[in-house]
């Protein structure tokens, strides 16, 4: 549908008409609200807020009804046909084009719609940003304040659960949301104000929630957007906002009683946000001063009509004038009659044109009379002529008949002269009448012109208003289109990034849904924990039996299923016996050796690393990376006749990471190194404060570990087992309060670790510790 079609549609015309009517309707509502607020100056802020809100809601109602009437009514509810005299004037106003007003009104609709869409787009973006503040840069407030908030919520009678968060983005305390309301406190506000003041602020915010101000605010925004062109709407909206704060202040004062402490809290908050370095030009911050004055019971200073008020008044007058011009417009509909202000405006217009109209009537009558006079005079002249002719004929006859009738002839001639003079006089009188008539016509025309100019001025005002509207819409568009584009581009980039991440995730996990993966991960974690504990139990039993040969066998290339491994090639053997030889648990080793196909083995390896990933769900696996780094380091630094990873130092380095301290005596006659893992380094599976000593008796570069606990007292040995199992045992002992440590006993038994509890300096504490350990189900051996 083209624009022309659209403009010709009845809806466009009805919209334009309703918009034009809204100009005076809105002004009228604002004036009414001003009067109501003036009369209700002593009423509560709650009452005043309700009055203002009702007024604001009445605006879309008035507009809707007008639109419905304009659409559905058509001519059936139109006013009676315009009186004839008015028709005389309409050509002057519309400059002889009866179709013009229809076009003009229809053009109003698309302009208005463009403005509304722009405004709403802005508000939507703002809303998105506000909603982001719920999640962005927030953290839960301390539990004691959460508890206090719940108590205060009960006092204010807020039944919905309210979340209290500290936000680094909010400069002031805020309420966001209606169904799941969130109170955002600026960082530091909870700590920076006294408890009483924080409570006052919280009550204020709870009052907002209780009064559903967030919803009212949204509705307000919608209405503002609909009538963005009307200053009255903005004024009423500002009144609603101001009274809303007053009402919430009243709740605080009613509950806390100390208005002054509350005022001080508000001021402190305002002050705290002020000196921020990037403060823009300080704008007129609204009514905080008014609120504080009100709280402290100070009289408001006498108000000089501000520039804003006079601007508003000016705008109202302008709007009224434009509305008048529109209402006088033909073919006006019932609203011209139905509404008093418009009617009075029409009356005023009519009053100015009435004398001119009367004049014309008078002139017409006068003209008729004069014309009749002229007719009479002409008839008289005709009669005189006939008489004259008759006399002349008689004279001829007489002269022919008898020459002696000279007297009679002279007499007749005299009569003829007289008749001619009368005729002349009559003619001059008729001329005078004509001249007077012309003068009067000219005067009437001048008055007519003056009336026309007045109407023309009204139209000019209307056109000015329209131009201003167009310009504003254009500026708004220019202002926003660039920024919107930029924001859109950023969003698209983010979307693309998210898409890529999703594709990566798909590649990593196949077609499984995210929940499935999550579920499987959790399942795997659970299974892993279970498996580990089973492993601990079995391993401890295993090692308790002293079955060391089994381990040695497991480390040899001959596995329980040599055929299967031989088929699968040496890559898996290398992985098992070299890559992860030190970190794989006995349970895992057994499971791996039981696998039959390469696919299963690949999957096992994958899962093996996944289980150890400190941040599951991310593509990187820090554990795996660190492990291979340690392997490489060991091979590079500890290699002698055997590969670096196989040496004692290599094994300790791979399993426990770089030591915190190395005491190096490599240059002495018996080369020696002591590696120390300090108390502050927690080694997974071993605990704290581990010292490992190496010595190179053969001076081959292959340092051997010396197993000797660096003790200052006696220990109870609780178990000996795989490092993993020993680590778990040590940790669980530590959790129960025992000073448990783990020691690697023998260099040639990579996974042989002893769990010791101690040191205990004397017999009494040793005996006590033994009793405690036995009570926990352990079988301490020693002491040593």
């Amino acid at each position: 549908m083209t624009l022309d079609h659209w403009l010709a549609a009845p809806l466009a015309h009805a919209l334009g008409r309703a918009l034009a009517h809204f100009l005076w309707q809105g002004a009228l509502l604002a004036v009414a609200l001003r009067a109501v607020l003036f009369l209700g100056a002593e009423r509560s802020s709650r009452w005043r807020h309700q009055a203002a809100t009702a007024c604001l809601l009445a605006m879309p109602l008035a507009f809707g009804i007008t639109l419905a009437l304009s659409l559905g009514g058509g001519h059936s509810i139109g006013e009676p046909p315009p009186a004839a005299p008015r028709m005389v004037f309409s050509p002057v106003i519309v400059q002889g084009s009866p179709a013009a007003p229809v076009d003009w009104l229809a053009w109003l609709a698309p302009l208005w719609m463009g403005g509304v869409i722009l405004f709403y787009a802005f508000r939507l973006a703002g809303w998105v940003r506000v909603d982001r503040m719920r999640r962005r840069g927030v953290c839960a407030a301390p539990p004691e304040w959460q508890q206090r908030l719940r108590e205060l919520a009960a006092a204010v009678r807020v039944s919905r659960p309210v979340e209290l968060l500290e936000s680094c983005l909010a400069g002031v305390p805020l309420v966001i949301g209606y169904w799941r309301p969130v109170i955002l406190m600026p960082l530091g506000a909870l700590a920076g104000l006294s408890a009483e003041q924080v409570e006052a602020i919280l009550i204020h915010e709870l009052a907002h929630i209780r009064r559903a101000d967030y919803l009212v605010g949204l509705a307000q925004s919608l209405i503002e957007g609909l009538f963005f062109f009307h200053p009255a709407v903005w004024w009423i909206s500002a009144v609603v906002r101001a009274e809303r704060e007053f009402a919430c202040d009243d709740v605080v004062v009613a509950l806390r009683c100390d208005a002054r402490a509350y005022a001080a809290a508000l001021t402190t908050l305002e002050q705290s946000r002020w000196p921020a370095a990037y403060a823009t030009a300080a704008a007129n911050g609204g009514n905080l001063v008014r609120r504080i004055r009100r709280l402290l019971g100070e009289p408001a200073p006498a108000r000089v009509p501000s520039a804003r008020a006079s601007a508003l008044a000016g705008a109202l007058v302008l709007v009224a004038a434009v509305a008048t011009a529109l209402v006088v417009w033909p073919p006006a509909k019932s609203f011209a009659q139905a509404t008093a202000p418009a009617a009075s405006a029409t009356d005023k217009m009519e009053r100015t044109t009435e004398p001119a109209r009367q004049n014309v009537e008078e002139l017409k009558e006068l003209l008729a009379a004069k014309e009749k006079d002229i007719q009479d005079a002409k008839q008289a002249i005709e009669k005189s002529r006939e008489l004259l002719q008759r006399n002349a004929a008689e004279l001829d006859r007489a002269m022919q008949g008898a020459g002696g009738h000279a007297d009679e002839f002279a007499q007749a001639e005299e009569q003829v002269r007289k008749a001619e003079a009368a005729l002349k006089e009559l003619e001059s009188r008729a001329g005078e009448s004509q001249k007077r008539l012309d003068d009067q016509r000219l005067a009437a025309l001048l008055r007519q012109l003056a009336a026309g100019r007045q109407a023309g001025e009204s139209q000019q005002l209307l056109e000015q208003q329209e131009r201003a509207l167009q310009q504003a819409a254009k500026q708004l568009q220019e202002l926003t289109s660039g920024k919107l584009d930029e924001a859109l581009r950023q969003e698209q980039q983010q979307l693309a990034r998210a898409d890529r991440a999703l594709q990566k995730a798909h590649a990593a996990f196949g077609d499984q849904s995210l929940e499935e993966i999550e579920k499987r991960l959790q399942q795997a974690e659970k299974e892993f924990e279970q498996a580990r504990w089973i492993g601990v139990g079995r391993a401890s039993k295993f090692w308790g039996l002293g079955n060391e040969g089994r381990l040695a066998q497991a480390q040899q290339p001959e596995s329980p299923r040599p055929q299967a491994m031989a088929e699968s090639g040496s890559a898996y053997q290398k992985w098992l016996n070299e890559d992860v030889a030190y970190i794989i648990t006995a349970e895992e080793r057994r499971d791996f050796l039981a696998l039959r196909t390469d696919a299963d083995r690949d999957q096992f390896v994958e899962k093996f690393w996944q289980r150890r990933n400190p941040a599951p769900g991310t593509p990187e696996n820090e554990f795996k990376e660190e492990h291979y780094r340690r392997m490489a380091y060991a091979n590079q630094h500890f290699a002698s006749s055997v590969p670096g990873w196989r040496t004692d130092r290599g094994r300790i380095y791979i399993v426990y990471g770089p030591p915190d301290e190395i005491e190096d005596h490599s240059a002495e006659s018996t080369p020696r190194q002591a590696w120390r893992y300090t108390y502050y380094t927690y080694i997974d599976g071993l605990g704290h404060d581990i010292e490992v000593e190496f010595t190179d008796t053969g001076k081959t570069g292959d340092f051997r570990m010396v197993a000797a606990p660096a003790s200052h007292g006696s220990y109870w040995q609780v178990m000996t087992g795989a490092s993993d199992a020993a680590g778990f045992a040590a940790r669980s002992l530590q959790a129960k309060g025992f000073p448990a440590i783990t020691y690697v006993v023998r260099a040639d038994r990579p996974s042989l670790t002893r769990v010791l509890v101690g040191p205990y300096p004397d017999e009494a504490s040793l005996a006590k510790a033994k009793a405690e350990l036995e009570a926990e189900g352990y079988h301490p051996v020693g002491p040593q």
């Binding site: 999640r135 805020l174 967030y214 990037y278 108390y679």
Partner: protein, 130 residues
Amino acid sequence: MAKSNELPRPTDAELEILTVLWSRGPVTVRDVHSIISRRRPAHYTTVLKLMQIMTDKGLVKRDEKQRAHIYSASRPREWTQRQLAGDLLERAFAGSASSLLVGALAARKASAAELAELRKLVGEYEEDKR
């Protein structure tokens, strides 16, 4: 590592952690996790991983002297806020957003003159109290 004067803009999740650090001072990963998990489910390892990333980016500092590493924000809140205020979306729609907010104070700051008057009003009260 990022240059100290060109810290990357924190993501939403990072900002959340920074907020905890700003509001609680230097804390351990476990503390951060317990505060964050109070308002939404979060894995400890995820928080740990994030904080490691943030350390690499230079957004937070790690004190390794203790057994449990202590983290603190490397820049004050105001600095980061300023950086975020440069965010286009924030700038373009701050005005539109402010009219949707309800709270104890107006969305716009008070002017210097107004603030002076407020101080005077409340100052009178403080003196009264004495």
